[in-house]
């Protein structure tokens, strides 16, 4: 039905190129999250799709129609703004009904629609209030309600949760997820928060400096990041990056010597990599374990310990000064100043060349749960 297709979309402001040719294919009913650091062009892309800014070059197709030059209202989209953008002088009901009234729908139909949307969002008791009498979360719901009543093909969300406090953000995030299931609509959602991206998206588009860095399902991006940028962006805390150079290549295995002299093995595609090349090794904190149970070994001095209850983040520095975060057990007894041994499986190691491109990790039929050392060792043997 309402597929959205972006063919080489470009945007420049005068001589400054902001987007360098974006290609995206969004199927009906998909929840697509555009994510990236601020200034990477994700909001601009959303505004181009909404029709609030002119597309410099390329083609935007919604529902099999080229909509490059259509007004926002005629593209069948509805947008929810970061700042809610409620009309301050109108009651909640009028805010939601305004667009419908303009479209010339009769009063009863409007009232019915608004009340139905208000019920879905549990704001039916607020319809007579003015926006300034509402809390942040309620305003956000009204903004979403205003989008729902228009019955659009595509919902556009521009960082809708960033003005909410942490608790409310989690709650609203869950509600948006449910809403997507209930409405079955296509949603394009912009955020800089990778947790929102991972939890909400069917498909995540990671953007960097006006380009699409990688696009795929949350787990796909988590497991097989194609670039160092994506690897660092997805996952929290960030993936550890350690510099080193290739020592030996074998089929599906690389031996890398890190800056501090430690040798590690990585289970990656080794075609096209020379011995002696400089590379960056990436290991996620959650794939590093206290102790020596796994073949890969790192050792360093503990600089900081963060106890979060269910996990402990241990910040250690290797012999050459590289900072590495280890996700330890919740009740870890490690203390600042201790020497720490951390170990990991070669399967969980990512390797990036100097251009930041990943050497593809070897795919397996079912990704091994990383927290099960027994299987990892078995498969390695």
């Amino acid at each position: 039905m309402a597929d959205v297709k972006l063919n080489h979309i470009k945007k420049s402001y005068g001589k400054v190129d902001v987007l360098h040719g974006i290609d995206l294919d969004i199927k009906h009913g998909e929840f697509v999250v555009l994510v990236g650091a601020s200034g990477c062009g994700k909001s601009t892309l959303l505004r181009l799709i909404a029709g609030l800014e002119e597309i410099t070059a390329g083609e935007l197709v919604i529902d099999n129609k080229i909509v490059n030059h259509l007004d926002p209202a005629r593209r069948g989209i509805a947008m929810v703004f970061q700042s809610y953008a409620l009309y301050p002088h109108m009651s909640v009901f009028k805010n939601m009904a305004f667009g419908l009234k303009i479209a010339g729908q009769n009063k009863r139909a409007v009232r019915e629609k608004v009340e139905q949307a208000a019920k879905i969002l549990q704001i039916d008791h607020l319809l007579d209030r003015l926006p300034r009498e509402l809390s942040g979360g309620q305003r956000q719901r009204v903004a979403i309600g205003r989008a729902i009543v228009r019955d659009p093909n595509v919902f556009l969300f521009d960082e809708p949760l960033s003005n909410l406090d942490a608790a409310l953000r989690v709650q609203t995030r869950v509600e948006i997820g449910k809403l997507h299931k209930d409405l079955g609509a296509t949603i394009i959602y912009v955020t800089h928060d990778q947790v929102e991206a991972m939890t909400l998206g069917d498909k995540i588009v990671v953007m960097n400096a006006g380009r699409v860095e990688q696009c795929g399902s949350p787990l796909e991006l988590y497991r097989y990041p194609q670039t160092k940028f994506v690897a660092g962006f997805i996952g929290s805390p960030k993936m550890n990056f350690i510099e080193g150079h290739v020592d030996k290549t074998a089929t599906e295995y690389l031996t890398i010597t890190l800056e501090d002299g430690t040798q590690v093995q990585a289970h990656v595609d080794t075609s096209g990599i020379q011995e002696g090349t400089k590379v960056t090794v990436g290991i996620r904190p959650e794939h590093l374990f206290e102790g020596r149970n796994l073949p890969g070994q790192l050792s360093g001095d503990v600089k900081l310990v963060e106890h979060l209850g269910e996990v402990t983040y241990i910040y250690m520095s290797l012999a050459d000064g590289t900072e590495v975060v280890v996700r330890g057990e919740g009740e870890s007894e490690v203390e600042v100043g201790d020497k720490l041994q951390a170990s990991f499986a070669p399967e969980s190691v990512h390797v990036f060349n100097m251009d930041g491109k990943a050497l593809p990790r070897i795919r397996r039929s079912a990704e091994i749960p990383a927290d099960n050392p027994a299987i990892v060792t078995a498969s390695q043997a």
Partner: protein, 294 residues
């Protein structure tokens, strides 16, 4: 114990030393403001007092309040019965309200166009308006008169309305542009997504949000128009088109001035501006945009 008190006392001195300059500053600010208010209100007060006094009492002691022996309404009866005061009053009101309406409407429209849309000549038009603030319109009186003669508009209220619109527009555009710029752009974008036409965005979203600014501009525009003597004298001096400021002049003779009538009509002339001011000042509510964004 002793040591404690020793520390405590100087610290209190130190506190009051900080407080005293604060009070001094407040006092001086209030003194300046009160002085200004007294100076500004004094002439009006003198008019009000003397409007209710007999002619003799006005000259004997202009600053005395009317008492039982000096109190008289002779000025008012003279103004209301002997002259066509109601016509003057009506003319003034029509000219002021019409000019005000168009200044606000055109001013807001121009301000919206200049701030919201990018088009050729945008800056040029903005500069023209800015020049309108800098150059007094009275400098063009001769050519305005010629123009009105050519258009056969002399001795009509329309001539006055047109001139006052031109006089009021520049400042209105300037002030309203600043206000329109503060309206979050997401509001307009949300409306555009809602399929609201540009006209509806202007009338139903922008105008309600700049109401406080409109009220400010209204007050600024209204008072010079109501008080103007220059243009009514030049463009519309006929009996039927005289405004109140011009009408008052008939009581001021070369040899005899009917002070009772002059002061009474001036007193009466204060009333409508006062009412309009009260109406507009109620609109000067701040924080109208609260709740729009964030």
């Amino acid at each position: 114990m002793l040591a404690k008190e020793a520390i405590a006392t100087p610290s209190q001195d130190w506190k009051s030393a900080i407080l005293r300059p604060g009070i001094l500053k407040k006092l001086s600010v209030h003194a300046v403001l009160i002085t200004y208010t007294v100076i500004a209100l004094f002439p009006i007060l003198v008019i009000l007092i003397n409007a209710f006094k007999s002619r003799k009492a006005i000259f004997n002691d202009p600053l005395a309040l009317p008492d039982a022996s000096t109190f008289t309404l002779v000025g008012f009866t003279e103004v209301l019965e002997r002259s066509t005061f109601d016509v003057f009053f009506f003319n003034s009101l029509v000219v002021t309200l019409l000019s005000l309406f168009f200044v606000l409407l055109f001013g807001a429209m121009a301000a919206w166009a200049l701030t919201e849309y990018k088009f050729r000549g945008n800056l040029f038009i903005a500069i023209l308006f800015a020049m309108g603030i800098m150059i007094p319109i009275r400098l063009g009186t001769v050519s305005i008169l010629q123009l009105m003669v050519d258009l056969h508009l002399v001795n009509t209220l329309a001539a006055l309305v047109l001139v006052y619109i031109a006089q009021g527009l520049p400042l209105a555009v300037y002030i309203l542009s600043e206000f329109i710029r503060t309206i979050p752009k997401e509001l307009k974008e949300a409306a555009r997504c809602d399929n609201v036409s540009e006209y509806k965005i202007f009338f139903q979203i922008v105008l309600p949000l700049i109401r406080p600014a409109l009220a400010t501009v209204a007050v600024f525009t209204m008072i010079p128009i109501w008080n103007d003597l220059w243009f009514p004298l030049i463009l519309a001096p006929s009996e039927s088109t005289q405004t109140i400021t011009l009408g008052v002049q008939q009581f001021i003779g070369q040899f005899v001035t009917d002070w009772n009538a002059v002061l009474s009509s001036l007193t009466l002339a204060i009333v409508p501006v006062l009412i309009l001011y009260l109406v507009f000042s109620r609109q000067l509510i701040r924080g109208l945009t609260a709740g729009a964004v964030k």
